[in-house]
Structures are given as C-alpha cells and as structure tokens.
C-alpha cells in the first residue's frame, strides 16, 4: 500500500504498487486482495486508476475485511491478484460513450474514460449518489453530469434517469441500478457485483444468472455483461456482508 485519501463521505481511494497489473489492466477488470491477518478469502475490488507502477482502488467499509483494509497504513503489504475478469469493450467504436455510475460504481469509470478516449470517443460522465457528501467528485468526461437522490448536488434523481442516450453505454453500481440500466438500454455494458470465492474461475461461486438460462462466472465471463443478458430478478440485489470471528 502506498497511499490512502478520502474522496467522499465513507469513500476512500487506496493506492498500491503493482507494476504488472498497472501495465495490463483494462477498465472493468478487478484485483483480488488478501493481506496478513485478513479474512480467509480474498476481497475483489475494481481497479480505479493505473499509472506507472501503481494502481488505485476505491474502498468503502461494509464489513470486517474492508474495515481492516482501511485501517492499513502506507508501507503495509497486500497480496494483489490480477487483473481479473473481462473489462468493458470499446472496440466496436461509436462516437459517444456515456459512463453511468452510482455510489461505489464510480470505481471502474476513470479507466473506462481512459479506454473510451483511446478508442477515440467523446465521453459523458454521469455519477449519482444519495447526497452531495457521498458523491465522489473526481471525474473525467467531456461532459459531466451529477445526480443525487435528494437534489443536494446536480440533478435530483438517479444517475440512470439523468444520463443521455448514446452509442456506447457502460454502467456500474448496485445491482438494482443495473437492472434499471437493462430496462432502458438492453445493449449497455454493465459491471456486476457478486460474492466471489476465488476470482480465477475455478470455484463457480460467483454465479450470474443469465437470461438464456444457466449461470456464468462473474470473475471470468464477467464482471462486465451486456445488460440484457443478465436475469436481473434472479440476481440477489442485496449482498449481506458479515463475517464475525
């Protein structure tokens, strides 16, 4: 770990040295973190930024593992596995990319902006949160739109409602929000959250129910899916966090 800073109420950005991951990561991919004295299983986090030999992740405390992570100090060692999963695809082009994120869903968006820009696209950044204090102010778009549930900053309402249409839509946020994305833009690319056992495709613990039946692995075929491909009602929208010792 190389640094830690707060970017919104309860939301932090944590930096770490990881040269190989920094060199190869694509937007929407994640790393699986473990640390001495940590929980048994690793914890997955989207890569937020990659520069030189360093990567950053966005961190919100929801349980014992994330609390330990936040308590760590620069200099402490983490084991970082990645980059994992399939990221957003900007290959088929289009001129206009809209990046829609809610809450922690902002995590893959800085890299998404980078990759979309590299593909020659114009970027609209749409980010929403419950209230201004929880809005992550770091952004990267040709157009930037804020949305808050209580109207305390930007448009009142959800990021999905606030976003314009476009050729390429990528979205990340709570599964409930992504279901709304699927309703409006079946062809959008969405990054979903699930529990993960291994992050490398061997445990089948990260099952994503598919519209065509059966399950995919979020860590391997995902975490990015075509919105209409996911069977949203069958995907738990709420992940209960809790490992007590």
């Amino acid at each position: 770990m190389t640094g830690k800073r707060q970017v919104a109420r309860g939301t932090f950005v944590v930096g770490m040295r990881a040269p190989e991951i920094a060199a190869g990561v694509r937007a929407g991919q994640f790393v699986n973190l473990g640390w001495p004295g940590g929980p048994l299983l690793r914890r997955p986090f989207s890569v937020y930024r990659a520069e030189g030999e360093h990567i950053e992740i966005v961190l919100k405390v929801v349980g014992a593992g994330t609390a330990q992570l936040l308590a760590m100090e620069p200099g402490d060692r983490l084991s970082c596995l990645g980059p994992l999963g399939r990221g957003f695809d900007f290959g088929n082009g289009g001129r206009q990319a809209v990046l829609v994120s809610g809450g922690l869903g902002v995590a893959p968006m800085l890299l998404a902006a980078r990759d979309a820009r590299a593909a020659g696209m114009n970027i609209t950044w749409v980010h929403g949160a419950r209230t201004a204090a929880e809005l992550c102010a770091e952004s990267d778009g040709d157009t930037v739109i804020w949305a808050t549930d209580d109207g305390s900053q930007g448009i009142q309402g959800t990021a999905v409602a606030a976003a314009p249409d476009a050729d390429v839509i990528v979205a990340c946020g709570p599964n409930r929000m992504l279901a709304a994305v699927a309703g409006r833009w079946p062809g959008a690319q969405v990054a979903v959250e699930t529990y993960m056992g291994c992050g490398t495709g061997v445990c089948l613990g990260c099952a994503i129910p598919l519209q065509r039946g059966g399950y995919d692995r979020a860590c391997k075929e995902g975490p990015v899916y075509r919105a209409a491909d996911v069977d949203w009602p069958a995907l738990p929208s709420h992940l209960p966090y809790a490992v007590t010792i």
Partner: protein, 304 residues
C-alpha cells in the same frame, strides 16, 4: 540434496503427494500461467452424466476460518467433458481423475462406462456425498450398503484406479471405509465438506439460496485429520487426506496421521500457487529432519 516425494497409490505412481481437490481447481485450464509442476494429480470438478445448471446465487458465504459453498455440481456433462477437456489433459504430465456423481448406482456406472478409456482420464474419484434419489434422497455416503453398491457399479465398468471420496456426515467413518474397500476401491479420499448453515440475521433466513452448504477451509482441519486418521486405521488401501490444508505443516498433519497423500482445496482460492508451496514445504521439512524420502516420515497409525 533432493527428497524423493513420489507416492504409490496402489498401481498409480504420483510424482508428489499434493493433489488438487475436486471443485477447487476447475478443469485445470482456468488459470493460464499457473505452475503445475508440483501437482501430484488433479481431480476435476464433480460431473454428472448430463449437464447441470447448479444452484442460484448466493452460492458461497464466508465463516470463521472457513467457507460454505453450494455450487450444486454445475457442470457440462460427460459429452462436453470428453470433447472439451480430456484432450488437453492427455497432454499433461500428471494424471487427471474425474470426480463422478449420480443419483443412482446405475447412473454412476453409466457415467463411468462413458468416460472409461477416454485419453486424458486416468481414473475416477467417486463422490458419494450425493443424495440417492432411488432411495428417497438419503445420502449414499452414510449408508454402507449404498456406498458399496455405487463403488461396485463403478468398479465393474473400469480397470482404471477408483477412489471413493467419503463424506464426514456419518456416525462411524470406519464402517463406510471398510464397505467401499470391500467393494473394490483402490483408495479413499477423506473428506468432503461438512454440511453447514449461515443465517443472515437481517433477512431472517439462510445466506445461501440452497439454505445449506458444505464447509471447507482451516476451520474443519482438526475434524478432517481425525476422520482421515480413522479411515486410515480402518482399511489397508491408501487414504488421501483432505480438509483445510493451507500450508505444508497442515499437509504433514494428515501424512503423519496415516495418509499417503493429500488434496488441497480452498487454499487454492486464496493462493493459486498453494499446491506448489505445500509441496515444496513438505520437501523442506523432510530435508530438515534428515529424511531422504516421504516414505521415511514416521506415521502415527496405531492399529487396535
């Protein structure tokens, strides 16, 4: 000085005592750059004759020093296995066994017949933790007659090594162990996961969609060592110890307790290189103690 880490499990010779446990190493092809040179053998993800979707999410939950899983034996079925994976296994320098499952003894037999003789498949590990649909959903694994019947059904269809993977959810593991030994098993694997449950107190119900799951990881290690030891005392065929092995010392507990080899499962999730590290650690331990081969490791195996 190098230590001889090879192991003979009946007719099957392995280059090392550390194996990949079923369901925790996929089909061996998922992690591209993984170093497999320490692998004694791999047991592939449990398979049924026909493709299975598996259970709805959430499928896993973490518990103190352990995890619960209810994957529901998701898999592509025998045809796809033969088509997509076996050809790759045939190129590898360690044996791959298939973990086989069925809802009746005859289904186990049918699956064996389909897979026997396919290049790349070196043997079978029978998972008897499945519900026996013919007998109303009771488990094969805690009924010595049912367990023996499944073993015989498989034994009749193949000359390849047949291992039987025991469930810990039994009153006396020795009874089952002897029953499947008599039915022709070449080795026993002890043990599979323990049935457990975790409750989400905010939603007033189980965390897993399947309600219960199998507990694995370090939490179960002392229970697994005991059961593997009891199995090893009950039979003459080799026993492969499984349960909560994270590092070499843990594997050595099973080996000292009378096991001939071990399988590593959950540890691979945490550390994709766990098997190589366990293998190397056992070697270092043997060297430090002055042993030239794994065979020289003293075993604690009172026969009474």
């Amino acid at each position: 000085m190098t230590v001889d880490m090879s192991v003979a499990l009946g007719a099957m010779k392995l280059r090392g005592p550390v194996l990949a446990a079923s369901g925790t190493f996929g089909y061996g092809t998922e992690v591209p750059l993984l170093d497999r040179s320490a692998l004694g053998a791999m047991v592939s993800k449990g398979i049924f004759l026909r493709a299975r979707e598996g259970t709805a999410p959430p499928r896993i939950a973490e518990t103190p020093s352990g995890m619960l899983n209810a994957i529901g034996l998701q898999g592509p079925g025998a045809e796809a296995l033969v088509r997509d994976y076996a050809p790759r296994w045939a190129e590898w320098d360690f044996p791959v066994l298939v973990n086989i499952n069925g809802e009746s003894a005859s289904e186990y037999g049918e699956l064996t017949a389909r897979l026997d003789g396919v290049a790349g498949i070196a043997g079978f590990e029978i998972n008897i933790s499945c519900p026996n649909v013919e007998q109303g959903g009771l488990y094969f694994g805690n009924d010595p007659h049912a367990a023996a019947a499944v073993t015989e059904a498989v034994r009749k269809r193949t000359k390849l090594p047949v291992w039987v993977k025991l469930t810990p959810m039994v009153g006396d593991i020795g009874v089952i162990a002897r029953a499947v030994e008599s039915a022709g098993a070449d080795a026993l694997c002890a043990i599979n996961t323990f049935v457990g449950m975790s409750i989400d107190i905010n939603s007033y119900g189980p965390r897993l969609s399947f309600r219960t799951g199998g507990l694995s990881g370090p939490a179960i290690r002392p229970l697994a060592v005991h059961l593997a030891h009891q199995a090893a005392r009950a039979v003459r065929i080799p026993v492969i110890g499984i349960g909560g092995i994270m590092r070499a010392d843990d594997a050595l507990e099973f080996l000292v307790a009378g096991c001939s080899a071990v399988q590593v499962g959950t540890a691979t999730f945490v550390n994709p290189n766990a098997i190589a590290e366990v293998h190397d650690g056992i070697g270092a331990f043997l060297t430090a103690k002055g042993f030239g081969s794994l065979d020289e490791l003293p075993r604690y195996l009172p026969r009474d």
